[in-house]
Subunit: 255 residues, 6 copies
């Protein structure tokens, strides 16, 4: 079948593509508040779409996204207590990554790319990869390469300059803001309604965290920075950067 | 937004619907071989679609499916070593269920339905629910109801008689066979290609399991019974049973 | 010493028998309600006795039974909240199985049979076996065979026909019913008192589970089907089937 | 039924006895080498028999023994690599204790006694008890008393003087030696064959442990001290001490 | 005794100070390579010293540092495979944090500050805090405040401008570089030998991670940026910022 | 640098010493009440100092001490509920030991000594070592030796006779008593104030444990035996024994 989506293929098709060396992408997402103007699935939609575009270019396969992410934090995603957000413990998330990688390895996959869309997943993804390597056996991994990519790291400085002519506020405030909103407008305009954006940011965070009751610095909307200026066109610029960046990485690492 | 899918809503919409008592469905699936003629996502597509139909009827919400299932077994799914299949450990699966239920409870959801499409998920789903109840605190659950449904349990005997006039081979052999194939033909005909069905079944299993090398009784295609006679029309009969069954259960339990 | 029971031997005797290739049986049981008319140890007595009979035929050894089982469920055993029942978490049970198998392997045992008497143990037994294989190292298991047997699977259709001339109600309703009662009457008549049987069944279960308060369909006695007609003679028929079935399996797999 | 054994009762009988305040004994044992002259089940037989004698005196119940113990150590039991010995990880053992105590508490049992026969179980028993108290909730334990007894601690100095007129070598060398052998001769003479005792002790241990290859100070027989002089009569003296000690403790703590 | 160090006090002194509301600081460090010119204990020395200075100002107590940190990563610390570095799994680190916080809470401590010196500890510290809150019980934490501070977040922009007149390279490259080196020169000049600094940086990292063999972009010395220009005087500026920042936070949050 | 402390060295220095075969000492301590007259860090100070003295003699390295110990017990340390004491779960402690040993092994260390100062650490240290051996792979440990030493085991009988001319009360009552007090007076006289000793011992323990409220036999001061007669001179005798004992062991095992 003509698809990049692993789970839409039958097993003989998957077997053949992996035997042929197809890179396998694992999108890592979250179900997390993204402001009043966007759906909860932003962190699933973006890495899945980016992975699909890149996979189409490099003959890769895209696994079902992990749709639940590690505990959202106030300074990067609104926090674990925000309505709508569903949080996994770090250990749970790491074990999903471990199990999926181990089973991909069992099948012969040796080129694996985790593509992450949720900041708080970074740590438990690393943990899951390391646990998988322990489980596989470090001395059996000579031909295995696992890449861990956060899609926002692939945006070129030139693109940020175009989008933020008055200066980039920094990725840590970009939750549900111009970058994510623009990319969603390009990919799933039906899931964005800019008219509901609240413009109650940007957040000014204190340089520490407080538990169990976080500091009240998250704007009520959940948008950490600004949404004004988001457009589908900018979204396409960003997606193009991500796609090109991954293609380049794949060529460098898997050739 | 006019959707039953939880993750397509913004957080204020989810908050409002849960506050209004919307039942929340958690589809539990797998990425598992389903014969040469079907995609690997059958166990995700079926419970998601059934949940969506039922949710539309009862004002419910459908969460993102858990797309990776507990270890496939030879006698029910071909086995954990089949190409294409990606297996989670029981503990990993149970922890996903635990974390999602705990966080739904934190948000105020009190009517939760796990809808399962993969036989091997039954045990760790029960475990995950019990662990969630422990974590929430048994004395804080007076108003909480969690239902655990396997969709195939909702098929009426009359429907089985219509589909299998010469006798129903039993659900345990139905993996990738007429029931699942028919429902997929109704829902995602693009993911079924009956011309590739191998007709190498039905499996005749010995009454025990062998490890680490399972007995070689799984038909090479991975289809445990037969695919012949699968039609989209039969699929609709089956989906109608499941939908009606859930609506009836919801009314009984949540009124 | 002339016994099949592993723990009644001294270590040099065990060492010699394992070196000689003796199959090692691990009975997996539970401490679980079995109606008003039977003791809580049915799921321990049955697999231990069956294993002992089979071991005597094939030169095997029988380990101490795991006397505590995984969480009893309403539809198969009355449920985890029944008085008398003592439930282990799935993870605890799996770890026992893992540890015992790993240590048998360390001693040189390569022919291991888990013989199960409690339905809810199936999943965590599989998990424990798989975890043991991971711990041993998959590439060190070329000469290892582990069989997983549920004793009720070995009953021949002919025997069921003799015992249930009006039709077999199905194994899932057999908890504490004619099959288990008859076998207990054959093995431990002192632990059965048919005069206390309540005849409040059979259960008619809804096709789903409810938590934390299960549906009230378990008959108050805890007997899911019927006890009437149980006899020690029928018990001997059943035990003979189980014994013969295991002997046959052992010959097929371990020769 | 007229028995102290919990698992030989039906659920209504257990329910009634626990409601009446019966102390519940959990024997904690091991399957561990005990020299060439004794069976592997010494650590199960002793605490089970002692618990049964004490329970008969105080109206108590005796649970099925945990028949697998925490990792045997060279200086106290020969070590985890001895043939015949089957070792559980500390975590596995602690979780069994936790789960059983939690479920006893759920049933209303408030007087629980763990009676231990295997030195290496001490630590994970404490851990299991503490984990159970965490799981139950520390603020729900006002009426709960759990006693943790090692049976050898109940032997009176006078008895040791009678048995060892030339001086007691210390409990840490008593593994498979006069104390355990004598008690086994009193309880299960069929499982003792003094003619096979090797007299290759006593062990002289260095004051440290070595891993992964322990120091070679364990006598080849596995007997750490001496067996000469063991008699059933001495065994009865010892058992009487243990029984009386427990009865006294029960009266002090549970009245 | 006149000390801020918790473990140098006797228990009655600790009891009295906690009863009086003393904030308790938990320094979180690592044993990790910090270039050829510095000791492995930088991440322990810095948060311990900063905590001690702040505690002296606010009547606080400083716990023993957690001296082993979560897995070092190439882009922030050289990576888990660097000689000298000792890495804990994320789960291990989180459980230490959980256990210490739970036991501080048991003693009555309600003002807890984790002060972190190792970037990779951030995630598992958050996890440990959340697990502690679960274990304590969320409904028992009304009077509990836990602050999580990374000391480098407290450096004022003015100070960075003074130290880096040509522009701050960013905290992520500061591993073993001017900031850490200067603070160590102020605190423990005996553990710094600038003459051994290698000047093989700064690192230019690719925007992704590779496993199991990381990209070879870490400078051979392990210093990610530059050490030139490090002085004890600058170290004092930085320490003064950290101290003042914490004092200010303590006054804001604990008054 | 001229130090035995691992963490005070730079990574090239550690690398060189380990390559040269330096034994690596891991001090295992606790933060635990030690009476009204001593600081909480006794179990850290003693093994660290003893390890440092021994390391200086044998060219060894001393790692940062694990400053938090496994749950203090009433009969050996006052108990987990004593003010000041901070308790780790057994599992947490074992995982620290496992992770540190695994990472030492990765670096090439093959001569590892855990030196313990806290009785309750014994069990989880053994567990941690065994788990490390599992993780490393039992078949990769041919050249690895791990020694597990409790420092009090190295005190010679002659020294005990000199210190306790009227008879040694036994190590189990020595918590915070003459032995520990004397060694602290020799090492850290600033952390001992004999004038605050309470003389409310010795404890007379019942031969069992009670949970969740321990028997009230711990003297209010937390000192299990006596402090009278403690002197720095006696402390030096004891330290000399420990140092000499370790040097002797190192020569026997690592030559």
């Amino acid at each position: 079948m003509d698809t990049v989506f692993y789970a839409e293929l039958s097993w003989p098709e998957v077997e053949a593509r992996i035997a042929a060396g197809a890179p396998v992408f694992l999108p890592l997402g979250a179900t997390e508040q993204h402001g009043r103007h966007m759906a909860l699935n932003v962190d699933v939609v973006l890495p899945t779409a980016i992975a699909a575009r890149a996979a189409a270019r490099v003959g890769g396969l895209v696994l079902p996204a992990v749709a639940y992410g590690n505990r959202s934090q106030p300074r990067t995603g609104g926090g674990p207590g925000f309505p709508g957000t569903l949080n996994l413990r770090a250990d749970t998330f790491a074990m999903i990554v471990r199990d999926v990688i181990c089973d991909l390895h069992r099948q012969g996959a040796r080129r694996i790319v985790t593509l992450n869309g949720h900041y708080e997943n970074i740590g438990p993804t690393i943990e899951g990869i390391e646990l998988a390597l322990d489980a596989i056996g470090r001395d059996r991994t000579a031909d295995l390469i696992i890449l861990r990519i956060d899609h926002w790291e692939l945006i070129r400085p030139e693109t940020l300059d175009r989008i933020f002519p008055e200066g980039y506020p920094g990725i840590e405030l970009e939750h549900a803001s111009v970058i994510e909103t623009s990319m969603m407008m390009a990919l799933r305009p039906d899931l964005v309604d800019l008219s509901r954006a609240a413009h109650d940011g940007p957040a000014r965070f204190r340089p520490y965290d407080r538990y169990p009751r976080p500091c009240d610095e998250v704007p009520p909307s959940g948008v950490l920075s600004l949404t004004a200026g988001s457009t589908a066109e900018k979204g396409e610029w960003l997606l193009a950067d991500c796609e090109a960046g991954i293609v380049q990485i794949i060529h460098r690492e898997f050739s």
